[in-house]
Amino acid sequence: MTTGIVAYLIRRLVAAVPLLLGLTLLLFVLVHLAPGDPVAAFVSEQSASPEFIEQARKNFGLDKPLPVQYVIYLSHLLHGDLGRAYGFGGKPVLVLIKERVTATLVLQALAITLALLCAIPLGIISAVRQYSVLDHTATVGAFIGLALPNFWLALLLQFYLSVKLGWLPALSAGQAQAPLAERWKFVLMPVLALALPLIAYFTRFVRSAMLEVLRQDYLTTARAKGLSERVVLWRHALRNALIPLITVTGLQVAHIVGGAVIIEQIFAWPGLGNLTYEAITRRDYPVILGVTLLAGVFVVVVNIVVDLLYVLVDPRVTFDRA
């Protein structure tokens, strides 16, 4: 089986190369097709002289034909160079990404972990005690959670927990200067704002997956064998119900790099979402391309990892070619 996995991995990785190349081409064309000029971000109403714009475009290499620009970009990319931002202090894109990728990963990992820790037990209870008070409560709670836009939740949390009660700092910026024991205060609100809708989402998934599994004959068999309800639920039911959850979680994880744009903005979280948004509004092509490319790579990698996880959870899945 191991050779099967290795072969599979190699196949997937090789397939990823043309995929990513195609992605760069598509992104490059789309980004340049969008109306607006990166140089416009450098001018105010009062200083927008055509001569300046012309020279600035030349300095950024934007005066060259698009195919030439693409080839230049690609050749740099093959050397591991994502180029330099037009704005953002002219920093290399790689540096900009490195500065903040950890912050985004940490935020999302915490939110997803918290969401799973809450959603799995909630979903199981809901399914096992279907139509009980607890199930109804969880269902209503989940629908509210799904319906609440997380930016609104974030602003509410911020307003009540920081402005009204003064328990937590309103912003996550400044956490680096805080003592280690205090850091959680800077993290709690953004994690909650991200996690609450996720809890709702995951709970619904676990519930329906469990309900489906619970109706299966092999569970009746397991019970008939005299297995305890705990073993039936955790070993036989949950394990099978996990497969759709892994898929859904994988999809969620793949979104990570795109970032929690809004949440990061509200809490001034020093992550990629903030960077992406600013880069788009300014048409900072190298930064937009860099971040989206990273997101593309991330999606490919996560998909491969998810496929591998299926094997662990479900022994029937195998990578050996029949």
């Binding site: 450098f42 001569e51 030349k58 704005g87 202090g89 402005v163 309103a170 912003l171 509200i266 048409r283």
Partner: protein
């Protein structure tokens, strides 16, 4: 970015736009406690806070001034809380938009320009009230006809302890002029003798710039230039020895621009782009005892409501960017001082006179008559803004105080439009996305013009698109802020002279050409004032742009700070941060 960007709120609008109007949403948000109570009740600005300076002598007057007296008197006068200035403490300032760059050759928006001023200072500064030139790194100057001789501050030093010399200043001006730098500041210095040839690459040096000795610099102009002295605020000297022969443009990879060294009051510490920009006291700053603060943090908070929350919770100490919607909420907070600073040049509509219909004066006047700016100011600007009164900011010395806002007269508007003939159906009015008052003004204009029988196409587009289209004259009606003057009335020349480099309206009027040319060369303030009076009259009659409304800004700072002055100069109450101190 000087915009009320509110990028975060964009999403709110997208989300709710189907069900709720924007204003309705704000109201509901207020009822929910999000934006505090009585969001719609509005107080007029306190008289003391919107104090508009009286006139002052214009640029170009021969002047010898002592460095320490200038500015301090103004600053301490405004220091409301008691307490002697003392060193210590720090301030965290929240901003909505991030600076594009801190490269002093190319920085070109308010955040970048302000940071550059903090790190590099300015060769000549502006008086915060009258906007006249005052000493900066140039301690004094004398004018003899077309030749200015500048004396540098005796102990001006860079933050690494090395001396700032006239050589560095000359190097900086030449760097701005050089074509390869692509400096947006270049056009401001082309009146220097030989500058045009140098900028075009046909001369190796600028004939009009002479270093007399390490502390004296002589600059000779080709012709009188009334804007020359105040334009020197765009000279933020860099150390020549570190940058000679290097790329100075926006794409420069020189490490200097990642960790710059300047002669300003503060010294660069770190910059996490999109997060915190941190600077600390420059121990070598030439003014004894300044700055008072040990350090400042300039923190990007991209969401406007979040910025207000951070002020209310005390997480940040001040900001220039709370929206007027949060005025009451902030005003009611016991720890905050809320200031409505003097107005800048007005917002409004910019007409493309190449369009056959818009080229008719009665059409443009009909637009002005159709809009009730008092109503707009009360409803959309929360009573904090005001109807506009012409192209020049009211606090500017050249502003003609006898100008009244354009009257509201719907019948007159109808009549004018009838004279002009039926409007074509495809005339497009542009506003930039996320700029709430501008979007509101677009909607209001659309409603009002419909009343006089003109259906316009209202388009909300992104800022970079709006700029590109306006510069390329690919628009019908765009934003009026592309023309007008806040600090230098001389700007009107490049905007309205027939061959002006930023004449986006394609306006052409030989009489105005003559007046503008005279005014920009007139060094006598009174005479210049008279010229600008005529210029304002003509522009307001011809209306190549309708300067409709003054946008209110809110400058907010914690009560414990003192030493700041409300001003339209870049940075607002933080324009001279080195004079701000912790009073208690």
């Amino acid at each position: 970015m000087t915009e009320w960007g509110e990028p975060g709120q964009d999403w709110i609008w997208v989300f709710l736009h189907q069900q709720l109007g924007r204003r309705a949403f704000l109201r509901r948000a207020a009822e929910l406690g999000l934006s505090g109570p009585a969001l719609l009740a509005v107080l007029a600005a306190c008289a003391g806070e919107t104090k508009t300076p009286t006139t002052g002598p214009g640029a170009g007057t021969p002047l010898v001034a002592s460095p320490t007296s200038a500015g301090t008197s103004v600053a301490t006068k405004q220091a409301t809380p008691a307490g002697q200035p003392k060193q210590g403490g720090q301030i965290i300032i929240g901003t909505l938009g991030e600076a594009q760059t801190i490269n002093p050759f190319v920085s070109n928006e308010s955040e970048g320009n302000w940071r550059v001023k903090m790190l590099f200072d300015q060769f000549v500064r502006l008086k915060l009230d009258t906007l006249e030139p005052k000493p900066g790194l140039a301690k004094s100057w004398q004018r003899d006809n077309l030749t200015y001789t500048f004396q540098l501050q005796d102990n001006a030093k860079f933050s690494d302890g090395s001396d700032l010399t006239a050589d560095d200043v000359a190097f900086t001006i030449k760097g701005i002029l050089a074509k390869a730098t692509a400096s947006p500041r270049q056009s401001r210095f082309l009146s220097i003798q030989g500058a045009k040839a140098y900028a075009a690459g046909s001369a190796d040096d600028v004939a009009g710039i002479k270093v007399l000795d390490p502390k004296r610099l002589q600059i000779t102009l080709e012709q009188p230039d009334a804007s020359f002295l105040i334009n020197l605020r765009y000279v933020s000297p860099v150390p020549k020895r570190l940058l000679e022969g290097k790329d100075l443009s926006a794409k420069s990879q020189d490490p200097f621009f990642q960790k710059p060294i300047g002669a300003g009051p503060f010294k660069f510490v770190s910059w996490t782009v999109g997060g915190d920009f941190v600077a600390e006291r420059n121990p070598y700053y030439y003014e004894q005892g300044l700055p008072y603060l040990d350090r400042f943090t300039h923190r990007v908070i991209a969401d406007a409501q979040s910025l207000a929350n951070a002020l209310l919770s005390g997480d940040i100490d001040g900001s220039l960017y709370p929206t007027p919607a949060t005025y009451q909420q902030l005003k009611n907070n016991a720890n905050l001082t809320v200031i409505v600073p003097p107005f800048t040049q007005p917002d409004g509509w910019l007409f493309n006179l190449k369009h056959p219909y818009l080229s008719k004066k009665e059409v443009r006047q009909a637009v002005a008559y159709a809009l009730d700016m008092n109503q707009f100011a009360n409803d959309s600007l929360y009573g904090l803004g005001k109807p506009g009164r012409g192209p020049i900011a009211p606090s500017n010395w050249a502003f003609d105080d006898s100008i009244q806002p354009w009257p509201y007269d719907l019948d007159k508007a109808k009549q004018l439009l009838q004279q002009a003939g039926p409007p074509p159906s495809d005339i497009e009015f542009l506003a930039n996305k996320g700029n709430i008052p501008r979007e509101d003004f677009l909607t209001y204009t659309q409603q009002q013009l419909e009343k006089i029988g003109w259906k316009i196409k209202a388009s909300v587009i992104e800022w970079t698109v709006l700029v590109t289209r306006t510069i390329n004259k690919n628009f019908d009606v765009s934003q009026a802020t592309f023309v007008g003057a806040t600090i230098d009335p001389g700007d009107l020349a490049i905007q309205f002279m027939t061959n002006g480099s930023q004449n986006y309206t394609s306006y052409s009027n030989p009489q105005l050409d003559t007046l503008l040319d005279q005014a920009r060369k007139e060094l006598d303030t009174q005479k210049a004032k008279d010229l600008y009076k005529q210029i304002q009259r003509i522009l307001l009659d011809d209306l190549p742009a309708y300067w409709a409304w003054y946008r209110p800004f809110l400058h907010v700072i914690k009560k414990q700070f003192a030493g700041y002055v409300p001003t339209v100069e870049t940075g607002g109450i933080f324009a001279e941060l080195e004079r701000v101190y912790v009073a208690k």
